[in-house]
Assembly symmetry: D2
Homo-oligomer: 372 residues x 4
């Protein structure tokens, strides 16, 4: 759970927990050169001796977008211009925050260095466009504890505010029973990370490993673990987690909960809210951010019937996004927003006919999006 | 979709669809002897020449219970006394309907003959206690089309009103692509069954086979397919199915929809309702029917906050039921209601310590149940 | 492990083990009428009071065939004429034994009654053609202990000599840890079955459940468990099981081992023999029995190079059989042997083009088969 | 398939295939500093302009070891001293080659830089101990084509001779049908890699993706794809692949085949040889190299009975290795050879009792090993 925003981290955490260091106000510009110099000193702890300051960008309820990562069509190099453009478009649409290097962000196709470039580019674009308050979540999962911690540090240096962490899974058959290894992993990363952790439960990405509500609630008690993204779609589990973590707080504030519970897909937005969830971190918002935002707004305003009508259109559009994944959503973006490009090889590039199918699959959703 | 209740089946169905025959008014008593005589004539089609009459027990929104099947502790023979007692207890608690031979009903542990005894016993008990209006759904899934049809006929003869049908899965790698084999299976069974079909989507029970919203909506267009139970927990899919099937109806009546969409677990009751679902068919209602019913009632009355408070207790209790399955729920019933017994071998019988754990796991839920 | 053939069962088995009753010499004719009369008395134990006699048909190394089950093209009724014809063709080709109701035998598409008809038909056909010495193995797996025992008894009454038993899997998440439930299941069935048990390890058919060499070796110590069929393809496991069970015997006779270890597919025949296995129980032998037999014969005669040359042709043909499963093998039989028919619905019926592909896929193998 | 050793690469390969560049004789020393300088120029193609020379280290039949990677107990930093010691011990035991960064080598726990350190350390240690002829295979699988190519280049620079490549799997649901994406991936990597590729088929490590014999044989036709490691354990597939690739060669030489087929575990060594395989690339050889070598030697000398006796001991020891994975094998090494240490976090460190169990599990195997 996160400490109150105004408390000094010193002395208020569990043993072994590093002083939290945050980006000092204003100095949020990182260049690629800065990052390259960083590489040789991945294990250098001196970088942690930044002045302790308040969290500048709280993690509040709303719509978060796991941003796609864009590449030049010829070279497949990272296309920072489009990354910046996309981030600003989403910010202007009214999203609450962005997440780089999620599954939608082709994290597994990027080197550590490229990951930092993506995050830094996003941070700079947001700041330059007047959104310096908008938080950035960064995907930092890895198979080893040390690499996960390294990614958290690199994310912080590149401008990230929170780390989204999948559990390790490659050697799952060798893990200690009763999720002991998973608990140790998350606690160790949370102890060492300069930015707070959001647990990422996505069995499909980790060979079927599914963290139960019990495990998530247990982890939620670490001061540096502040939320969960549930892509498993299990709204019963979401309900258990939201209820239990709400009760853990001394004073629960639904507008600024200590532990944020996010649904991992737009097709269960209002279902998640009904179950006590706080919002979504969903790929569909890359292509239809306003529709995602408005659905949740209407529900929160008590306009349930209107929210349900909008949710139906969103759910049908999300079905296209689910089937197409990063390939289909990029094709949809290209067709409807004029940019998108392709995923890195070996992912296939849609034929003209396939692109048209993706376009049609998003049509009703985009009609709604344009009307908002 | 089901035809309107007052229309003559003649001429209003697709080609190849058998005349539907229903239980004539009043004559709903079937004895075990009747059933034994039945066995030799499984393929005798003359039994279908019953007079056509109206559906006496409509499938309306509410809480349905996939009843557990009870066995004598010593012999493991079917315990008809407890089956009857349990059915009446649930009916008096206010459930909308019962389902025999679901996963909770240990269908895979019963012979065809025993299945019919269970259904007939349930029908008789309900009738004798004044619940002759209450519909019974019967699990009728099988690997071959002909056996599924046989089970539907046997279910009808035993007093069942609807058939709950899983897709076949054993030879799934040999099925035709694009779900063609699944579509053919369901259409063939729906064509031949004397009772309407409810599709059962439960990937965990069928080697991972997961029917998409597209397939379910396509099947919903058969006049003799009248609903779906979604145990996959995917409320995005539920939303798509509810929306599309609602639009298929000439005149949608939320109190009596043509296609009933049911959630397969109590821990996503209000989430399902928010998404357009009509109720639940959930194992937890075996042990806490009133809590399940009241949660849904409060939501439907617009008392969302109270419904959410109750849903939290239900979800935590459902977590115990999910972990324990038929073994844990029977132990919970035994501890809290004084009956339950054991599952058929080889399922383990809980030790005293394990039974206590199951008891504790249901405690908060049962405190709520007793207060209603 | 099986007791020596000449020892009286009385007094030489573990507690609780029923007197074994065997088919009395000569009276091996069972009619369909006999079987129908049987149905009402499934749990009648008086049928076990048959006189104790010696095992007439030992389970020796060689090629066993899990026979396909044939159906009339129009009605899908069991086609006993073709079943009989097929059995005799295989016997004349020189196989060591047949197995009814395996995966190839569409057991999941048959009622208990039909299963017995298939086994009885096979027994009669073999006897009438002069193969009364040939053993029949019968698939008897079920989800409940009592149904597995019932199937073993029905198999024995229908003329079966051995029961091939899969572990239960439907409620696997509820099983006791350390394979305890599996061990109890197999011991209980072995205690009660009038015919000896062969363990069937086929993870693909039971939701991924894979029995380890440790479990199989432990079960092999029951006097009424006499072999294992390994369809998992794990020849390391096969090596461990063959080695450990060989050492359990007082006096190991490779021509008549106490515990028979069979490979579940023809494409690893000589590999299995190299690893200490005793033969195969493989679907490919339905279509190319002589090729399967000769491959093993050559290896056993020490003609390894010739055996390896033949194995290559067999493995390539087996690849077609593996891809096509029961659908492809029936098509191959129809094309190459003039009979085969179709699988029961909902399994697809191949188009003319698909049938031609199956035919071509078996061509080299059939050229070899015809040359033998 | 690999070109003959004495042919000039120029002009003899498919379009788009880069000039192959090999390590010049003698200059095989790479320091960590060399490697650090490398990092900034990952995409710099000038490094490919090395003089073309002959392959110095052919890939011949035998026993290859996927070496474990060793870490300091306190810091978890890479322990180059032990890596070097281990490599030399294996070389002196008589293995044919080593493989770094396989699953046993905790590749997923290493940064790109550390991977190169491991390979370079291994190369240097072998050279210094007089084994400069011994080939090193390096694990180079990745999710994107470009990173796989990068890893191949880094492996070559660090002293690797061959690249062992898993197929990508993270976005498998989005891949083109008929394995098209997999074929494109391998062909693109093979086109660009300065070292030849060995296909790695290990479904357990890639979310169940299993490449068929058809796909492997098709890929084998690329001049820069020279072998396959089959960890799937399917010796039927191995037989098909060995047969088909043997027939592709103009002139097959069993002592130096164009396409090397290796079994991925020691418990099916002789089974693989019987099926046409050329050897093993197996983790057990980390702890018992001589036993693995001798088993294969005896078989190749025609001493089949002795080979089978030794295979049984090897298979039982391999069962311990399979269950323990990298955790259990390191514990076994520590107990039996005096070094091993631990796996990187979050993998658990065995308790004293667990270590003793691992020790006992390897006992018979180690008695055999010490006797050789």
């Amino acid at each position: 759970m996160a400490p109150h925003n105004d408390s000094s981290p010193a002395g208020s955490f569990t043993n072994g927990f590093n002083k939290m260091a945050f980006q000092p106000s204003g100095s949020s510009t990182l260049t690629v050169e800065d990052l390259t110099a960083e590489l040789g000193s991945s294990y250098d702890s001196s970088s942690l001796d930044a002045p302790i300051s308040h969290v500048k960008r709280p993690l509040i309820p709303g719509v978060y977008v796991p941003t796609m990562c864009f590449f030049e069509k010829e070279t497949e190099d990272v296309d920072t211009v489009t990354i910046a453009r996309h981030a600003v478009r989403l910010a202007r649409a009214g999203v609450t925050g962005l997440a780089t290097q999620g599954s939608n962000g082709e994290a597994v196709h990027l080197t550590h260095s490229e990951r930092q470039v993506v995050t830094a580019t996003t941070r700079k674009a947001l700041n330059d466009a007047g959104f310096s308050h908008m938080p950035i979540i960064v995907g930092c999962g890895a198979q080893s504890t040390r690499e996960a911690i390294l990614l958290c540090r690199q994310a912080w240096k590149a401008g990230g505010d929170y780390a989204l962490v999948l559990p390790p899974s490659y050697y799952a058959p060798l893990f200690a029973p009763s999720s002991q290894t998973i608990l140790e992993f998350f606690n160790a990363v949370a102890d060492a990370s300069p930015i707070p952790i959001i647990i990422y439960n996505y069995p499909g990405a980790v060979n079927g490993m599914d963290m139960s509500s019990d495990i998530i609630v247990q982890l939620a008690q670490h001061p540096n673990i502040v939320g969960v993204k549930l892509t498993c779609g299990n709204t019963g589990k979401l309900n258990r987690v939201a209820a239990a973590t709400r009760k853990l707080a001394k004073k629960y504030d639904p507008k600024n909960p200590d532990f944020l519970v996010l649904a991992g897909s737009a097709d269960f937005s209002i279902q998640a809210l009904a179950a006590g969830g706080h919002g979504i971190l969903a790929g569909l918002a890359n292509i239809a951010p306003k529709a995602c935002i408005q659905t949740i707004e209407l529900w929160n305003q008590g306009k349930h019937t209107e929210a349900q009508e909008m949710q139906e259109i969103v759910s049908q559009g999300d079905w296209t996004a689910i089937q197409g994944g990063v390939v289909g959503v990029k094709a949809g973006l290209e067709e409807w927003a004029g940019y998108g490009g392709y995923c890195r090889s070996p992912l296939p590039r849609p034929t003209a006919e396939q692109s048209k199918n993706w376009k049609d699959g998003f049509k009703d959703l985009m009609m709604l999006e344009k009307s908002l």
